[in-house]
């Protein structure tokens, strides 16, 4: 895909995007502890369709990213989510899995389809309920897959510890980064910035009282370095540098967007938000999974001819503070242009949903700040990266 002029028929645009608030995966306190994951997804799918004023009958495919595809999110759940959301039977549905990059993958796939002149109007969504369906349970990895690496690469935390130690990222620096993520997210929540992207969803408060949830549960307005200092390392007891404060929290949530060709949008008098200019995926050493965004971004830039300096805003998914910091450092980015509304460390990281979540936040921030180009990128377990670049339609 290059940034060459393309006809409106084969230019993908995002016409709407929204998300639930992100809940903490906690059996006692999580706001969505009694809400099924498929319901969260159906809610945002129907809302994205409504917000985009998309005639439901023209939807051709529904792509939902989920990493833990079993139980309430099992059996090509994209189809049942579409049915729950009232998408007509005539739309197809497919569940995508590129682990943390799952919904950004759905997004890319939808764009590729549009560029190829195949299916046009897509709903792209993602969902994860990490309390109901914990990460990596009931998975039986083949041990021979690790003959050229080690089973320890299955622990994302250890890969982040490795980045921290090999790049000399101190625990204090990680905590300062995490604190800033909470500060930015708190500001975005308090000033009402997230109002335009969050769809209110029914949940429970800590006392079990029915509450309409419109605020991300993991954002700590009272985050502070003194409290962070007390925490114990999670992945390497005693000697490690990464704690609960510098890792993305386990989360429950969903996000959705509607993607179609610019021509179709015009035909339906829909005003699109952004164009999708280019996408890229790449594989790296499993131990370097946290650096996936760097290599995916470089590949995307090379392929599209876009210069890094032309990109005004970045969303780099924060799986771990050390990992996000390593990417910012390696790409020599100005932190003031990265994750301006806070990142997953504060907002939460519902794996399959996060690609659509960071894109949603990025697109809203681009509109808010009138930034021409924005890039969303993520690291992916066992060594991958994915990146997508958006162009604001003014």
């Amino acid at each position: 895909m290059t940034r060459l002029s393309r006809s409106p028929e084969t230019t993908p645009v995002v016409v709407s995007c929204c998300r639930t608030a992100i809940g903490r995966s906690d059996a006692h306190h999580g706001v969505f502890r009694k809400v099924r994951g498929d319901e969260l997804a159906a809610l945002v799918v129907s809302e994205a369709v409504a917000r985009g004023r998309v005639p439901p009958e023209c939807i051709e495919d529904v792509l939902v990213g989920v990493t833990q595809q079993r139980a309430e999110l099992g059996g090509n759940v994209a189809r049942t989510i579409a049915m729950l959301a009232g998408v007509p039977f005539s739309a197809a549905a497919c569940t995508t899995n590129r682990l943390c990059g799952s919904s950004l993958q759905g997004m890319s796939q939808a764009c590729h389809s549009i560029m190829a002149g195949a299916e046009d109007v897509h709903v792209v969504a993602g969902v994860e309920h990490m309390q109901h369906l914990p990460m990596n349970s009931e998975i039986d990895f083949h041990p021979q897959a690790f003959s050229k690496s080690s089973r320890a690469v299955l622990s994302m935390g250890l890969t982040a510890e490795y980045l921290a130690s090999s790049r000399g990222i101190s625990r204090k620096a990680q905590e300062e980064y995490a604190l800033e993520s909470h500060r930015r997210a708190t500001q975005a929540a308090d000033t009402g910035f997230f109002k335009s992207e969050i769809v209110e969803c029914q949940g429970l408060n800590a006392n079990g009282v029915l509450t309409f949830i419109d605020r991300d549960q993991s954002i700590r307005s009272d985050a502070n370095l003194a409290a962070m200092k007390q925490l114990k390392p999670v992945f390497l007891p005693k000697i490690g540098s990464i704690t609960a404060a510098t890792s993305a929290p386990m989360s429950d949530g969903a996000a959705a967007m509607v993607v179609m060709s610019e021509a179709t949008a015009r035909r339906h008098q829909i005003i699109p938000m952004v164009r999708v200019l280019s996408t890229a995926v790449i594989g790296v050493s499993p131990a370097l999974m946290g650096m996936g965004p760097v290599y995916a971004t470089r590949k995307l830039l090379h392929r599209s001819g876009i210069h890094l300096r032309d990109i005004g805003l970045f969303e780099i998914n924060e799986a771990f503070a050390a990992q996000a910091m390593a990417c910012v450092e390696e790409l020599k980015l100005d932190h003031d242009r990265v994750n301006v509304c806070g990142g997953s460390l504060a907002i939460g990281h519902p794996l399959g949903a996060s690609g659509a979540r960071i894109s949603t936040t990025l697109i809203h921030a681009m509109r808010d700040r009138q930034v021409h180009l924005g890039l969303a990128t993520m690291c992916i377990g066992l060594g991958q990266g994915i990146a997508v670049v958006f162009e604001l339609i003014e």
């Binding site: 021979q144 003959s147 690496s149 320890a152 490795y162």
Partner: protein
Amino acid sequence: MPEPITTLSTLVIEKLSGGITAIGINVPGHSQNVMNQDFMEELEQVLTFLQQNPPRGLLVESLRDDSFLAGADIGQIDTVWSLPSARVKELCDNGRSLLDMFAASPWPSVAVIDGVCVGGGLELALACDLRVATENPKTILGMPEVKLGLLPGWGGTVRLPRLIGTGPAIELIASGDVITGSQAKTLGLVDACVPVHSARESACAFIEQTIATEDYCKRRAELQLPQVLDKPESDFLLATTGAVIVSRTKGNYPAPMVAFDTIMQSATKSMKEAAALESKAFADLSQTSVAKQLVRVYRLGERNRRDCGLGESAQLTSNESVHVNEVQKPSIVGAGIMGAGITARHVRSGFITKLVDIDARTLEQSIPAILEEAAWDRYHQKTNQERVNELTGRLMSSTQLSSIADTEIVIESVIERTDLKRQVLADIEATVSPSTIICTNTSTNPIATLADVFSDPTRFCGMHFFNPVRQMSLVEVICGPDTSDSTVASVVLHAKRLKKVPVVVQDSPGFLVNRVLTPYLHESVELLREGVDPSRIDKVSRRFGMPLGPLELYDMVGLDTAFYAGLVMANAIGDRIEASPVIPALVKAGWLGRKTGTGFYSYKSTGHDAKIESINEKLGDLIDPYRLAEQQMTDEQICDRLFLPMLLEALLVLDEGIVRDGCDVDLAVIHALGFPAFRGGVLAWGDSLGAAEVVHRLDQFSYLGPRMTPPARLLAHAESGRPFALVEERGNLLPKTT
């Protein structure tokens, strides 16, 4: 079937159809096939024979059930300590070259692995082109050398990484874990895992296929290649697996890290260079005291496994005077924590077990916990619910003692009140048949004070399990005044069927383990009274290698329990060691340890799994009335203060004939107290210092009075230079039939 063409003492050569030759392994005189001198020599002869009569393909199999080939003969390993490093290297090189010759033979070979295949046995299997394991649950594969403080020395560190990858090979070798045939298949360590009955046929099919495709030639070439990890992956392996090894071994066990370093270095080099690195690492480790102690501890365990529990004078089976009873129907009376733990152990070991408690509520509450413990899946660290359902049928409970009338062994485990125990034991005897063995699980009641309720006290003894039963493998089998040899031997056998380590002890206060523990615990409180910081005391003990410090142990056991145990011990050792006033003061304050959330430490919660929050802030005030003159001490002195009294008590235990020999003391402290195995047990630790040095160190503590006075036995050892605890084989072995 064709006749074997040559018969040697450990190997049998057999010609199969189609030009395939089978080598059958059968090493006499050992419970497992082992690679002793005879075996190695004959293997070389067989190779020569084969070179003269080349087969199309070769099958290597065991002629015994459940044992393919264990490693080198432990008796031979136990001789390397006295050899110079260069000679040890040579021994490694010789064994490895033989296996290398085997591997380089022009014909393809396949190992049929049914039963135990560990250490050198797996190294031989790795020298074959193909490996077929069986689904037999007794089939296990691994390289457990690190558990003996060593590493594979016959090519294991060279071939394994090249076969399954550097990371997985390090995991297997540095952990010393063994895996099943099916796990080995998934790991790529074997090429197939098949039912036992089809193993030979499958192996022959493999041979034919590999001859036809010449696939084995390609594989041989590939396996010569170094394993190159990309830089991030090898750095990552060091940062993760390396860190795990360091945290697990705490610097006390060098072998896993040496194995890690050796493999990381050698995997990227040629086979020849890798072999040299392996020999060097093995020779280096063979010079460490840790390896020597671990091999000794292994031998103690093996000796215990064969031991019937009786003195040399007892006559086994050959004469009817001792009848060893392999019981089928066990019962447990009392469903408290200990009773439940003992019951769970029985159910887990396959016994149909009866549990009696007069209180229906207690039974109701304990049964789910018993089943969950019995069905605990150690590998996945959780209860296997399917297994719970299967095991339910093995557990029968009742509130009526009459329900155990037909039982063959009863373990009474009611609370530690002498009057209650006497009553229950009398009731049990009145209920069961005259041949039933009756045991009491007690830590404080002398067996003699319970034995006199019996009309036939010969069938009665103590069977002391340690809490928690699932973790502590020691069982003290305590002889009462009239306990018969048959009873002792039967209870010892029963403990082994529960996969416990039984040590026979004579009736005396505190028996063995609590007896030697008491002076150590006591000393920790004396140190507190002399102004030593509690966390420093525990830290010194942990650094010595104990799993918990003495004050943490007090808190775990419970200060009330410790207090009552102390009263019992006062009978035995009160003249040397006075009960400390601090313990009753803690009990009075209601600080009973983890169970109340406060003891020497403050805990984040209450209960058995409570975690330490900090030192109990008010501890200082409580100790104030009992302060002794403050002493400035080094960590080494604190360490000696803690462990020398334990050593002295162990020597007195030997004097009193409470155990048969010092090895039992070492085995007991390792399996009941977690005494560090790398030190070989408390007496072996004493031996590593030398009796004269122990006397010398005690001298600086002479101001502490009788508890630090060298006993006569110590002085005699210092004089003669004889060790406290030599490993000597016992004459009375467990009869084979049982």
